[in-house]
C-alpha cells in the first residue's frame, strides 16, 4: 500500500509513491539518493538527519515522508548555490568545524535555522541551538567558531565561491571558471593561509 506524495527538495519538484511508514530521511536517502543527510541514531537524539522543512530545522528521522507532503525541503546538497558555498559551509571549512564529517550536514542545517532567526548569536545561544546535534569528534569548540564565522560572513554580505584553490581537487569549479576568485574578506584570509602553510 503506497500513497502519492508531492515534495519539493532543493528546488526540484518530485512526485513519488511511498509507503505510509517511510520516514522523510529514508525518502531523501533511498528514493532521491540525497545521502548527505545521515542517520546516526534511532531515537531522535543525534541530529545527523536534520534538514529544513519549509525553513525550519527538522530531524528527518522523526517525520514521516507523507507529513512533508506539499513542503519545501532543503538538504545539505541544496546549500551551495551558483558555485558559491553557503556561509555556514565556508565557516565550517575555515574554522575546522568538522573532523569525520558525519554530523556536519545536520549541524549545518540546524545552524541555518538558528541564523535565520538570530543572525548574530552569542556563543551561549549557538551552544544551546545545537544541543540536539551530537558531535563526538570536535568537542563542539570549532563548530561554535564555525557558526560564529558564518554569521560574520553573512553580516559582511559575503559569500564564498566554490572554486577551491587550496586543495580543492575533490570539487570541480561549479561555474566552469577555474580562475574565479573567491569573493569577500574570507577570500583574503584563505590566501594568507595558503601562503603561510606552503612556504
Amino acid at each position: 500500500m503506497t500513497q502519492n506524495l508531492a515534495i519539493n527538495v532543493n528546488g526540484v519538484a518530485h512526485s513519488l509513491e511511498v509507503e505510509p511508514r517511510r520516514l522523510l530521511v529514508q525518502l531523501l536517502r533511498e528514493d532521491l539518493s540525497l545521502t548527505g543527510t545521515h542517520i546516526g541514531c534511532d531515537t531522535s537524539q543525534c541530529g545527523a538527519c536534520t534538514v529544513l522543512v519549509d525553513g525550519d530545522a527538522v530531524k528527518s528521522c522523526t517525520m514521516l515522508a507523507l507529513q512533508a507532503d506539499g513542503a519545501a525541503v532543503t538538504t545539505i546538497e541544496g546549500m551551495a548555490k551558483d558555485g558559491e558555498l553557503h556561509p555556514l559551509q565556508a565557516g565550517f571549512w575555515e574554522k575546522h568545524g568538522l573532523q569525520c564529517g558525519f554530523c556536519t550536514p545536520g549541524m549545518i542545517m540546524t545552524a541555518a535555522d538558528l541564523l535565520s532567526r538570530n543572525p548574530d548569536p552569542s556563543d551561549d545561544e549557538i551552544r544551546h541551538a545545537i544541543e540536539g546535534n551530537f558531535c563526538r569528534c570536535t568537542g563542539y569548540q570549532n563548530i561554535v567558531a564555525a557558526i560564529r564565522e558564518a554569521a560574520r560572513i553573512t553580516a559582511a554580505g559575503g559569500s564564498v565561491a566554490l572554486p577551491i584553490d587550496d586543495g580543492g581537487d575533490a570539487l570541480p569549479p561549479a561555474t566552469g571558471d577555474a580562475e574565479a576568485a573567491p569573493a569577500g574578506p574570507v577570500a583574503e584570509e584563505r590566501g594568507e593561509d595558503l601562503t603561510e602553510s606552503t612556504r
Binding site: 509507503e19 511508514r21 536517502r29 539518493s33 540525497l34 545521502t35 548527505g36 545521515h38 542517520i39 546516526g40 541514531c41 534511532d42 531515537t43 537524539q45 543525534c46 538538504t75 545539505i76 546538497e77 546549500m79 558555498l85 559551509q89 571549512w93 575546522h96 568538522l98 573532523q99 569525520c100 564529517g101 558525519f102 550536514p105 549545518i108 556563543d123 551561549d124 549557538i126 551552544r127 545545537i130 544541543e131 546535534n133 551530537f134 558531535c135 563526538r136 569528534c137 570536535t138 568537542g139 563542539y140 569548540q141 570549532n142 563548530i143 577551491i164 584553490d165 587550496d166 586543495g167 580543492g168 581537487d169 575533490a170 570539487l171 584563505r190 595558503l194 603561510e196 602553510s197 606552503t198
Partner: protein
C-alpha cells in the same frame, strides 16, 4: 628540514569540501547493483543456551532471500581470532601469564554470552522486509545465570561462562617488582588505600558500524566494504584465521568512516557474515548497517576496570611505592585486542611522569555477561593516568602538601631522559629495551597554573561559597605513549600483539608532476588527506594541492597497520617522509645525469634537484618526473618512473605530556557539577597542522570530561543493558562545555626526523582525572576524598548527604573501605 614546525601550519583540510557539501561517501551511502539487506537477530538474554532455532516462518515472509543461523556457516568460518593475548609479563620475573581465550563466531552456535550476541541473520530485498522477517525467527532459549561485574565474576559461586576459564579468568598478567613494592609500602610514612572504578563507556561514533560483502564468482574472491580503521589487518585476520583463504582472495575497503575512537579497529562477526552470505547468494551483495541500539549492544565498549591501589609516600609527599590490582572486564568473549589493553597499554605506564621507585601491577581480565570490551580512545593509558592522578591527589590530601607541589616533588627531572621506567617498559622478556624518549614536565605545569590563576584560587573559592557553590580545581599531569613500536617489542616475541606495528607509504609522481601518496593508515576524521599531503608537499617543494592522498583500500595501498593509538603521524608520517627521501635521492641521480653533473654534487631544494653552489643548474621535480616517466635517457641501470615505497618501523614509542586543569562548581543543594573553566597545556612535539592538532585536543578533552561527569554504560544484574540508547546514555552536548583554553610547550620527539609525537588521545587521557580531582577538591570541605565516576548530580548529592550525615570523611565508594594513615 622544516616539514613540521613547533606550531605547525594552519592549512584548511583538503577533505572538507566533500563533507560540507554532503558528498561524503559513508558505508550506508553505498548502493550496489542487486544489493540485499541483512538484519541480525540478537540475543535478548545475557547468558543462555540455544536449544533450537526455527527459521521456517521467516523464510517465507515477503522479500526474504535467505535466513541463516550459526550452524549454516560453522564449517566454513572459524571463530574470530584474538590477535593480542597478554604477553611479556615482567620479563618472566613474576608469576606467569594466563590466557584463556574464547572468541565469538560470526553467529553464536550453542550459547550466548551477552544481550546482543547475534544468533541468526535474515537477508531480504529491502531492509524493512529483513527487519519484519527477523521478528518471525523463533529461538528456543534456556536462560542461564549471569554475572556482569569484573570482580564478582572471579568470586566463588559466580556463574561460569567458559569451561577453559575457571573463575571466569580470561587473563592474568603482572608487571613490576612485587617484593620491592611491598617493602616500600611497609616502610612508608604515609600509606593510602583506595578502590577506584573506571566505569564502562560506550564509544559512540556518530556513524555506526556496517559492512557490505560481495563475492565475485569469476575469481572466487570477496570484497568487503567496512567501517574500519584497519582494512589491511582485517584482510589479514579474515583470510588467515576466519575464512582460511589466501590474502589475495579478500579485498577490504573502508569508505569515509564517521568516527571510530577505537571501536573500528577490530575484527567483528558481521565482517565475515556479509561476505560469507554473499557467496551463498551467488554473489549478490549483502549490506548490514547497525542501528544505534545495535551499536550499543554489539560494538565494543571501553574501560570497565575495578582497581585497588595502595600508595606509600613520605610525609613530604614523595611517592615511594605504588601497588595496583585491577580487575578488567573483557566481556562475554574476547574482542580482537581486548587482553592487550589492560596489560601492556596500562600496567607498563603506571609510573607515568613520576620517579616512583617501586611499582607493582597485577591484572585479572575476566569474562562477564556483557559485550566485549576493547580499545576506546586512549586504551589503557586513560585508566593508568586515572590511577596515578587520583593517587597524587590522595597523597596531597593525606600529607597536606599542595597537589601541585606533590607533582613537582615526584616529576622526573628534565635530565632523566631517555628514561627507563620501573613499570617495565624496558623489561620485555626478549630483551628489547624501551625508554621514555623525552620530557620536560614543569614548564607545561607552570604555564597551565599561570593560565588558570592558581595563585588567586582561594579567593575565588570563597566568592563561590558565598553564592552557594563549592568551587574546585583539579590537575592532571599526564604522559602518554603514542605510535606504539617497534615491532620486535610489541609483537608476539615481546608484548604479544600478533603481528607487527610498522607503517607504509608509496609515492608516485605522474609525468605531469602531480604526486600520488598512498598510505597504510586509515583516516577517519584525523585529516590525513591534508597532513600527509603537507609532509610530501613540503618535502618535495610542490604545492600541497598537487599531492593526492589515497588510503583505506587493500587493493592499491601498501600494507599498513592502520590508524589508532595516535600512531599515524609518528609512524605513518615517517613512512611518508622516508618515501619522500627516496624520491629525492632518485631525483638527484637523474637530475645529475640530465645536467651532466656528478650525483655527489647534487642537492635537493626548493622543489628541484640542483648542483650545489650553482642554483641555476636545476631540474624541477616535474622535469625529473617527466624524464623518469618517458625514460628516453636514463643513467645506466636506472628504472623508469618516480615510484618509491617506504616501510617504517619506529625505534621507540613517542611520549607526549602536559598539564590539564579543570575548574568546577558544585551546587551545594543538588550536586550538579558545572565545568566552568578548562585549561590544557600539551606537548605533542612538532606539529604538522595546528588546526588539526587543536581539534584533536578539543575532541579528546570532551570525551574525557564525558567520562568524568556524565557517561556510563549500565548493565543490570541480569545483563540487560539499561543504557541502551542515546536517550539513556549521556553523550555530551555543546552547552555542557565552556570554551576550552589551550596552550602548548614544544619538545620535539628525538626519535623521528619530523619531531612529531601524536595527539589523538592526549585530551582523553588527561581530562578525566583533572575533572574528578576538581570535583573532589570542591567537595573537600565536607571531608570527601573520592567519588566514583560518572559524577552525576545523583552521585555527588549522595556523597554530600553521606558526608554530612557522617560528619565528614567518605571515600564515595559504596561497600568498600578506603583508608589513609600517617605513621609517626
Amino acid at each position: 628540514m622544516a616539514v613540521t614546525t613547533p606550531h605547525g601550519a594552519s592549512l584548511k583540510r583538503k577533505e572538507d569540501p566533500r563533507f560540507i557539501t554532503g558528498a561524503g561517501n559513508f558505508l550506508d551511502d553505498i548502493k550496489l547493483s542487486g544489493m540485499t539487506y541483512a538484519s541480525i537477530l540478537r540475543s535478548p538474554y545475557a547468558h543462555a543456551r540455544i536449544r533450537g532455532i526455527d527459521t521456517s516462518a521467516a523464510a517465507t515472509m515477503p522479500g526474504v532471500v535467505a535466513v541463516f543461523t550459526g550452524r549454516d556457516m560453522e564449517n566454513d568460518l572459524n571463530p574470530l581470532p584474538c590477535a593480542w593475548a597478554a604477553g611479556g609479563a615482567s620479563g618472566g620475573e613474576v608469576g606467569g601469564v594466563t590466557n584463556n581465550l574464547n572468541t565469538p563466531r560470526a553467529l553464536a552456535l550453542d550459547d550466548v554470552k551477552w544481550t546482543g550476541e547475534g544468533v541468526a541473520v535474515v537477508i531480504a530485498e529491502t531492509l524493512e522486509q529483513a527487519v519484519d522477517a527477523r521478528e518471525a525467527v523463533d529461538v528456543d532459549w534456556e536462560p542461564l545465570p549471569t554475572v556482569v561485574d569484573a570482580e564478582k565474576a572471579t568470586e566463588e559461586g559466580a556463574p561460569q561462562l567458559h569451561e577453559n576459564a575457571p573463575n571466569n579468568v580470561a587473563v592474568t598478567w603482572s608487571v613490576g617488582d612485587p617484593d620491592g613494592t611491598a617493602s616500600a609500602i611497609d616502610r612508608a610514612e604515609v600509606v593510602i588505600r583506595q578502590r577506584l572504578v573506571n566505569q564502562r563507556l560506550i564509544p559512540n561514533p556518530i556513524d555506526a558500524r556496517g559492512a557490505i560483502g560481495r563475492w565475485d564468482p569469476g575469481g572466487d574472491d570477496y570484497t568487503i566494504w567496512m567501517t574500519s580503521q584497519t582494512p589491511h589487518i582485517m584482510r589479514l585476520l579474515l583470510s588467515a584465521f576466519v575464512f582460511g583463504v589466501p590474502e589475495h582472495k579478500i579485498r577490504c575497503i573502508s569508505p569515509d568512516v564517521g568516527g571510530a575512537f577505537g571501536t573500528k579497529i577490530f575484527c567483528y562477526p558481521e565482517w565475515a557474515l556479509v561476505a560469507w552470505a554473499s557467496k551463498r547468494l551467488g554473489g549478490r551483495p549483502v549490506k548490514w548497517y547497525e542501528t544505534r541500539s545495535e551499536n550499543y549492544q554489539a560494538t565494543t565498549h571501553g574501560r570497565d576496570h575495578i582497581t585497588h591501589i595502595e600508595v606509600g609516600a613520605t610525609k613530604a609527599g614523595e611517592v615511594t611505592g605504588l601497588r595496583v590490582k585491577t580487575y578488567a572486564n573483557l566481556g562475554g568473549r574476547l574482542s580482537t585486542i581486548g587482553p592487550g589493553i589492560p596489560t601492556t597499554l596500562y600496567g607498563r605506564l603506571l609510573s607515568g611522569p613520576y620517579k616512583i621507585p617501586n611499582v607493582f601491577c597485577e591484572v585479572v581480565g575476566t569474562y562477564t555477561n556483557t559485550v566485549f570490551v576493547d580499545a576506546y580512545r586512549g586504551a589503557g593509558r586513560p585508566e593508568a593516568t586515572y590511577v596515578l592522578e587520583r593517587a597524587m591527589d590522595l597523597v596531597a590530601d593525606e600529607t597536606g602538601v599542595d597537589p601541585v607541589e606533590v607533582r613537582r616533588r615526584n616529576f622526573l627531572p628534565p635530565d632523566a631522559f631517555p628514561h627507563k621506567n620501573v613499570s617495565g617498559l624496558y623489561r620485555s622478556w626478549n630483551g628489547v629495551e624501551l625508554a621514555i624518549d623525552s620530557g620536560n614536565y614543569e614548564p607545561a605545569l607552570d604555564r597551565a597554573l599561570e593560565m588558570v590563576g592558581y595563585a588567586d584560587f582561594d579567593t575565588k573559592r570563597r566568592e563561590a561559597a558565598d553564592r552557594g557553590r563549592y568551587l574546585g580545581i583539579g590537575l592532571s599531569t599526564y604522559i602518554e605513549m603514542c605510535g606504539v613500536a617497534p615491532s620486535k617489542w610489541i609483537g608476539v616475541v615481546g608484548e604479544g600483539w600478533g603481528a607487527a606495528m610498522w607503517e607504509s607509504a608509496n609515492i608516485r609522481i605522474h609525468l605531469t608532476g602531480k604526486v600520488v601518496l598512498t598510505i597504510g593508515t586509515a583516516s577517519h576524521g584525523q585529516g590525513h588527506e591534508t597532513t600527509m599531503a603537507q609532509i610530501v608537499a613540503e618535502g618535495l617543494g610542490v604545492p600541497v594541492e598537487d599531492v593526492l592522498v589515497e588510503h583505506s583500500d587493500t587493493s592499491g595501498t601498501p600494507f599498513g597497520y592502520g590508524t589508532y593509538g595516535s600512531r599515524s603521524a609518528a609512524v605513518g608520517g615517517m613512512a611518508a617522509y622516508t618515501a619522500v627521501e627516496k624520491i629525492k635521492e632518485k631525483a638527484k641521480r637523474l637530475a645529475a645525469h640530465m645536467l651532466e653533473a656528478s650525483p655527489e654534487d647534487m642537492e635537493y631544494a626548493d622543489g628541484g634537484a640542483r648542483v650545489k653552489g650553482s642554483p641555476d643548474k636545476v631540474k624541477t621535480i616535474a622535469e625529473v618526473a617527466l624524464a623518469a616517466h618517458v625514460g628516453y635517457d636514463l643513467p645506466a641501470g636506472m628504472e623508469p618512473y618516480l615510484d618509491e615505497t617506504a616501510y617504517y618501523d619506529a625505534p621507540d614509542c613517542t611520549w607526549p605530556f602536559g598539564t590539564h586543569i579543570a575548574v568546577v562548581e558544585v551546587d551545594k543543594e543538588t550536586g550538579k557539577v558545572d565545568l566552568v573553566r578548562y585549561v590544557a597545556v600539551d606537548d605533542v612535539g612538532n606539529k604538522i597542522n595546528q588546526l588539526i592538532v587543536a581539534g584533536q585536543i578539543h575532541g579528546g578533552i570532551a570525551q574525557g570530561v564525558g567520562q568524568a561527569l556524565w557517561e556510563g554504560a549500565v548493565y543490570d544484574d541480569d545483563g540487560q543493558l539499561l543504557s541502551g540508547s542515546m536517550m539513556d546514555y549521556a553523550v555530551p552536548r555543546a552547552s555542557w562545555f565552556p570554551e576550552l583554553e589551550l596552550d602548548e610547550t614544544v619538545t620535539p620527539s628525538p626519535i623521528n626526523a619530523l619531531g612529531v609525537k601524536g595527539v589523538g588521545e592526549a585530551g582523553t587521557i588527561a581530562s578525566t582525572p583533572a575533572v574528578v580531582n576538581a570535583v573532589v577538591d570542591a567537595l573537600s570541605p565536607l571531608g570527601i576524598r573520592h567519588v566514583d565516576m560518572p559524577l552525576t548530580p545523583q552521585r555527588v548529592w549522595r556523597a554530600m548527604r553521606d558526608a554530612r550525615a557522617n560528619g565528614g570523611s567518605t571515600n564515595g565508594s559504596a561497600n568498600r573501605s578506603s583508608s589513609g594513615e600517617v605513621r609517626s
